[in-house]
């Protein structure tokens, strides 16, 4: 019996030991995970709740995928995918002011904190405030902190915790309890603290340069940026010294930060850039990328910014990513793609007979050639036309009379789009004389560059040139005497100067709201700018989510004679 009991106890001890170990191990593994993973809401994990909350906030879609229902202006039924919370309160949640309508912040840091008319002084600061001003600082909050319950009331019934009725432009949402809980949960996580890359003194910025960029172009990009940062920082002492008191302490200079600019050098082929960017970012999490220059496409940097939600302001590239929905890179323009797009719209808007099947694109197998051809092809097809015939020249393939003859005789195109450099210009004359075809030729100013005037006299009447710059006859612009665009280095430098102007405006408008999304939201709210702000372009225009600042491209012809002039044949923006 004793023996059996002893064995049992021994067996029990033996069994208990691994169980204890397992339990300890489980506790050891689970405890840090529980600490790392805060609880979600409505039976969802945190990640899932945030995903669904973001979907509701930004797209107006319920977890079911259906649009939420709401009422605006007292009786107007709307579905929230027509305009969502994000429309007015913005991606950052920091609100907006437009058309006389003030939209207040709805980010977690503001919603769930009492809001006062005056910054709350510390006990020491309180002693320095004159007695007659104390009531202002000791006044009760303008609005108490929202709770989950009072926020639900505001969202459903349009009433804030003070009992004040919100403007009728604020939709009254018809949300079920669970959907409301998910939205409230998301709002708590929205812009809860400043983005990385900003501390009490400095906003950290970086610019990306790749190793195969010619030295002169690298210098043209870097010098203006470095000069800008030096210039801004030279004001630092003055601003910081006056930030200790009065009006400046209260409003103005709290927002001031010095800038730091790091140069992120990328080496090797583009497919390795991403890992290098990740390493740079791991070492130095910057607030934003500004400027930058690469050989070839900008895509690896674009995707890095998109994934980490890091704004990338105006890289000096003519090979941007073309996207309607990506958000975190603002480009100067669509570059070569935009010229193809302009040619398509110009042709489609003309009074010529239908040219379906009678178009030929010849382009080089280079990033520039492919982008120009894609711009034309995609725009042409969106206009309901058939894809043009195409002939892609391999990288080293010479443009010859035979090649052009063969292509034109085979396709007999009425319209030839030649997205190559100036090497093809002397040959075109012979080809056109051969059969009377093509009747119309399109060329690109950005590919011809300073050889634009080499277009043979006999071809000028039938040749159109896409010209994505301000015209020489305009108020400004940047070009040579004969209308040829400026050399690449000078254009890069002009763009970077323009970036500096934009940065000054946006940092000022961002005030103390150091959130990456806010940085681009204030740029989105800028008014359109022409010369000299817009450098080589006719105009920049901005708007929520608009990510190509210069949206136009002229189509021009060359006047006859040696002193050829540009003859404007289209509006800046062609519809």
């Amino acid at each position: 019996m004793n023996g059996a009991a002893g064995r049992l106890r021994a067996t029990g001890r033996n069994a208990l030991l691994p169980l204890l170990c397992l339990f300890t191990l489980l506790f050891w593994v689970a405890a840090p995970r529980a600490a790392e993973e805060p609880p979600g809401v409505a039976g969802l994990t945190r990640a899932e709740a945030l995903r669904l909350g973001e979907q509701l906030y930004r797209k107006g879609l319920l977890p079911s995928g259906q649009p939420a229902q709401a009422i605006v202006q007292g009786d107007t039924e709307v579905e929230a995918d027509m305009f969502s919370c994000e429309s007015c309160h913005m991606r950052s949640g920091l609100g907006s002011y437009e058309g006389g309508v003030l939209t207040t912040p709805t980010n977690g840091a503001v919603l769930f904190k009492a809001q006062f008319n005056y910054r709350q002084p510390s006990p020491d600061q309180l002693k320095t405030i004159p007695a007659y001003m104390l009531p202002l600082y000791q006044a009760p909050p303008r609005r108490p902190a929202y709770t989950d319950t009072t926020l639900s009331v505001a969202l459903r019934d349009g009433m804030d915790p003070n009992g004040r009725v919100l403007d009728e432009v604020m939709p009254r949402y018809l949300l079920a309890e669970r959907d409301m809980a998910i939205l409230v949960y998301y709002l708590k996580s929205l812009s809860p603290e400043y983005s990385p890359g900003v501390d009490q003194n400095t906003i950290r910025l970086a610019t990306v340069v790749t190793d195969r960029v010619p030295a002169k172009e690298r210098e043209a990009m870097l010098k203006p940026l470095e000069k800008y940062v030096r210039g801004r920082n030279s004001r630092a002492k003055t601003v910081e010294s006056r930030a200790g008191y009065g009006f400046y302490a209260e409003w103005m200079d709290l927002i001031y930060r010095r800038l730091s600019l790091s140069v992120w050098e990328l080496k090797g082929p583009p497919e390795t850039w991403r890992s290098q960017l990740e390493e740079y970012y791991r070492k130095e999490p910057v607030f934003a990328l500004i400027g930058g220059i690469s050989h070839g496409e900008w895509r690896p940097v674009h995707e890095f910014g998109e994934e980490h939600r890091i704004p990338c302001l105006l890289p000096a590239t003519d090979l941007p990513v073309i996207s309607q929905s990506d958000w975190y890179t603002l480009y100067f323009s669509k570059g070569h793609y935009q010229e193809g797009e302009a040619a398509a719209r110009f042709l489609a808007a003309g009074e010529q007979p239908d040219r379906d099947g009678e178009l030929l694109q010849i382009f080089r197998d280079s990033a520039e050639g492919r982008a120009s051809a894609a711009g034309f092809r995609e725009s042409w097809q969106k206009l309901g036309r058939k894809a043009p015939a195409e002939r892609m020249l391999s990288a080293g393939e010479a443009v010859t009379v035979e090649l052009l003859e063969q292509a034109t005789l085979e396709k007999r195109p009425a319209v030839l789009l030649l997205w190559t450099g100036p090497e093809a210009l002397p040959l075109l004359e012979k080809v056109a004389a051969l059969s009377g075809r093509p009747e119309t030729i399109f060329l690109s100013a950005s590919l011809l560059q300073d050889k634009i005037g080499a277009l043979p006299e006999q071809l000028r009447e039938k040749s159109y040139i896409t010209y994505p710059y301000a015209l020489p006859a305009g108020k400004g612009g940047a070009h040579r005497g004969n209308g040829a665009p400026l050399g690449r280095e000078r254009r890069i430098a002009a763009r970077m100067n323009s970036l500096g102007l934009l940065l000054t405006d946006s940092l000022m408008m961002m005030r103390g709201e150091f959130y990456r999304e806010r940085f681009f939201e204030v740029i989105d709210m800028l008014q359109d700018r022409g010369h000299p702000y817009s450098a080589e372009f006719e105009r920049y225009s901005f708007g929520p989510g608009q990510r190509y600042a210069s949206k136009g491209c002229y189509v021009v012809q060359l006047s006859p004679g040696p002193g050829s002039e540009l003859l404007q044949k289209s509006e800046w923006v062609i519809h």
Partner: protein, 193 residues
Amino acid sequence: MTSQTTRFLCYLVTLVPLLLCTRAEAAGGKYRRTVADYSMPDVLLVNQDGQKVRFKSFIEQSDQPVLLDFIYGTCTTICPILSAGFASLQRKLGPEASKVRLVSITIDPEHDNPRVMKDYLKRFRAKPGWDFMTGSRADIDRVMRAFDAYIPNKMSHYQIMLIRSPRDGRWTRVMELVSSADIMAEYRQAGAK
């Protein structure tokens, strides 16, 4: 005059102004509302289908009430409210929606091309009869100026809705965001023979 007749006249004198006041309240008393004549500029605009529209004749030859506003495709605040009002009117009118012509003119002609405008209308469940128009910046400026609604910077635009009566070609100008009941009342009043 009998006492009954006198009493009837008294009622009439009291009630008629009251009735008139109610009508004014329903069709404009709650918001700023003026009536004006505008001369349409002869410009060529482009609609969401990429079709060219001769604006002057498009408006002036309409024998239906025209409701017109100025919006842009990426506007964050007031344009969506204006457009929700148009969408609501079309929905409430049901089969009668074809009897009103809705026109939205972009104030961001650089960005708002036919594709952007078509997507915008789709988002607001627009039915046939609602056109969104763009054009050259100069032509859009001419349209805005024609309606005394020039907006040099789209970010500081303001709400304006104009309603044209086919009876006399006159325009009612509403300078506020209004309810869908108000929009319906304006439409009815413009269309009433």
